[in-house]
Assembly symmetry: C2
Amino acid sequence: MNTPVTLYDTTLRDGTQGEGINLSLGDKLRIAERLDQFGVDYIEGGWPGSNEKDIEFFRAAANKTWKHARIAAFGSTRRVGVLAKEDAQVQLLLDSLAPVVTIFGKTWLLHVSEVLKTTPEENLAMIRDTVQVLCGAGREVVYDAEHFFDGYKDNPEYAIKCLLAAQEGGAGHVILCDTNGGTLPNEVAKICADVREKIRVKFGIHTHNDGGLAVANAIAAVEKGAEQVQGTINGYGERTGNCNLVTMIPNLQLKMGRPVVSQESLSGLRDLSLFLDEVANQRHDTRAPFVGESSFAHKGGMHVNAVNKLAKTFEHIDPATVGNHRRILVGELSGRTNVFMKAREMGIALDEKDPDTREILQRIKSMEAKGYEFEAADASFALLIRRIREKTEPAFYLQEYHVSMRNSPVRQYQEAEATVKILVGGEPFYTVAGGDGPVNALDNAMRKALATAYPQIQNIRLTDYKVRILDSNRGTEAKTRVLITSADGAKEWSTVGVSDNLVEASWLALADSIEYYLLDQKVSGN
Amino acid sequence: MNTPVTLYDTTLRDGTQGEGINLSLGDKLRIAERLDQFGVDYIEGGWPGSNEKDIEFFRAAANKTWKHARIAAFGSTRRVGVLAKEDAQVQLLLDSLAPVVTIFGKTWLLHVSEVLKTTPEENLAMIRDTVQVLCGAGREVVYDAEHFFDGYKDNPEYAIKCLLAAQEGGAGHVILCDTNGGTLPNEVAKICADVREKIRVKFGIHTHNDGGLAVANAIAAVEKGAEQVQGTINGYGERTGNCNLVTMIPNLQLKMGRPVVSQESLSGLRDLSLFLDEVANQRHDTRAPFVGESSFAHKGGMHVNAVNKLAKTFEHIDPATVGNHRRILVGELSGRTNVFMKAREMGIALDEKDPDTREILQRIKSMEAKGYEFEAADASFALLIRRIREKTEPAFYLQEYHVSMRNSPVRQYQEAEATVKILVGGEPFYTVAGGDGPVNALDNAMRKALATAYPQIQNIRLTDYKVRILDSNRGTEAKTRVLITSADGAKEWSTVGVSDNLVEASWLALADSIEYYLLDQKVSGN
């Protein structure tokens, strides 16, 4: 029978070493709560020795009740030539009150001599002593054997001795770290098999993605007996990042028969991934295994046909298991089937024989040629179909808008203003509003103009506003695509606008958003 | 001794199945030329049976001389119940004049019965006949065994029979495809070992990344005797994408001792990856193994210290081998060392004891708190240091700017205009200019204002303009970061601006770009 595998998340520590990842104390606490709910076994909160924010994190964490996870503080072995109990950094780890303490130490002689500048024996003593002091203070201790695989390849006996030193000190787990991320899976498998024979304490695996193999290496280690997987959500981390737990978890649970979280948690995996991107202000990786927006998206006409017949033909798992969903892409390569399935996905029944359908297909193709993409703008797609099929009267006609912005460092003021002239049911509305910038002012003026005729638009909030420069090598003349997501508390919808003028692209997406909302309201009759 | 491994690139066919990947005929030809120069062995240009553009591609390709690569046309086995030589799609493959023809066929009985709706025997005949007709016409034939691993797991005898049918027909390679991308590396290894025993013809591997294991699976296959690797540049492809050749190539060449391209080509790997992103209009994956902008970027103070002492301590390969470079990140976690190394990287010697240095560190921290990032804006970083250390006089002072844009669908016109009031050496310049949009107009007006005093700014071209919405959930009020790259023909530099007003953020980045250029010119004295 397989031994259980525990999940050790280091998003809050190793993850923040990634380029562009900066988390406030509040962010870190929100993320920790979310990871706890999700069912992660260990949450490494930070390194109290490295900065004040992490000390505060552990202060706050000690006063919280955690549902499932154990909180871990990260640090290093004692310094060369001091007693572990007198080492200031070791003391900070104890002061953190974290029930688990993870310390890293050297296992590669190159580092012992070149970076630590000490003897092999002193390094072993540093490991053993530090683990012992922490265990003596009642902590569960995890020993991270830094550069384990490189160290083992250089000198297997010494690398194993380092693990044994941690074992003697009383560590609960020793973790084999592929710190530089350059090891191949078959090497990991061979080395783990040897480790399994030479030590008694449980071992775990900590990989980096420098060779694109962090997940594969962690899988190889688990197959050879690793009982803990360390990684980060979305693979955040220094350089190319750490083992991506969002990829690792479903592989463990769905493919290897090693359950690590509840089935219910697993179905929230995509949400967890998006939540982290949101808090860490990272762009969602649309191609991320299991959870990406594109990961169950079918484009080729033939694949779409086959999936239509039998999902299993082109899907390795049911997307719902990980909280994802199938998508049918509408694009250049798409046959009629794609457009039909996409429409069906949105609850619109298209008739193949209807002449409108040909017009819809042509319109989509010509807009795509201009730079439109409907893949992430369902509402604009639906609007396009309904305008053609239902010959719907627009909710409003734009006559003119004008935006203006002045910045005067000398007179110390900045202002942005927009005016909008709109016809609603033949009646003109001419409004003006300010804002933080020209687009915000335009948004405000348009809402003001429409508020009399359509008071319900006050419910619309813009929840996301994205700008993509399409041909960015054309500098400030480049074509711009704006994607807007709106919500009214009950539902969300996304619209798109394209222009070589950012304000106009924003206007188009804003106008579609409101038009879609009003049309949708009319249909549902509220 | 290891047998040679050939590289088969399907960026132009399978790659274009990826969401958002659309390539024109011109794009496809440019990419093919680049792949040929790089040293790829096979270039799959498209599927002549699926669209007119691909037919034209092969027409153009037939008239070109290729340095190294063989061009492959992709298609399927003949239809059920027709003679291969009378199948219209097979005829299109021959008409393409491509020296290599790759056909895919079924190996999974589920697909034979549910999608093809035919018998197992007819499917075998379809494979054998089609390969035979194509070989008879003098083509080198590659047989892609679709869903091979799923088919094998379902019925190993039948899956092998399909490979034998292709072998009997005369195929040069049979390719084991993990079409749904859900297979684990140890399964791939086991199945490949069995295949190696049962067939005589060379076999290759074609993987997808649905489990995040496409590269690991290809490596496992090569270790078990696969002699061809199929994949795409940057891993483009349907759903989560194909095996990323940009990751696979250095793994093969640097780690597995299986050279596939020249050392000189390998050192152009990062350029190849960026070129493809540029042509396919994809965002560069900064964390891409080997070639990402962040892939040799060091942030943690301690790692930076160690790398400073000995690069090998935290780098699995020398970044130059793949055309990449080490970067030192300046950010919240960065100690003084990072700022020093970053400055040194840019040729600025900072003195640790200098009081200016403390001011520089504080200023960087406070700007980062506002949303600035200097990681991709070297020129703004250098400017910040020089402003503090050299007390340089700004090249110009902004007094005021005003932008305005009107769009009138009724009167059918759009206009954007900007005015700028600038002081240069005490003298005021007040200019106005138009543009495609407000930012472009502002750019034009500023250049006009500065042209008298600094005619050399006419040499500056904007080569990239990127907009990132930082807190995009705040809708059109969100804070915006603008990154601009400029060039003068000889060099490139990047600057950054942040504001909750996109026009102002753009202004800040534009102003830094020109200021940096003028200062740099003054120093180099030309």
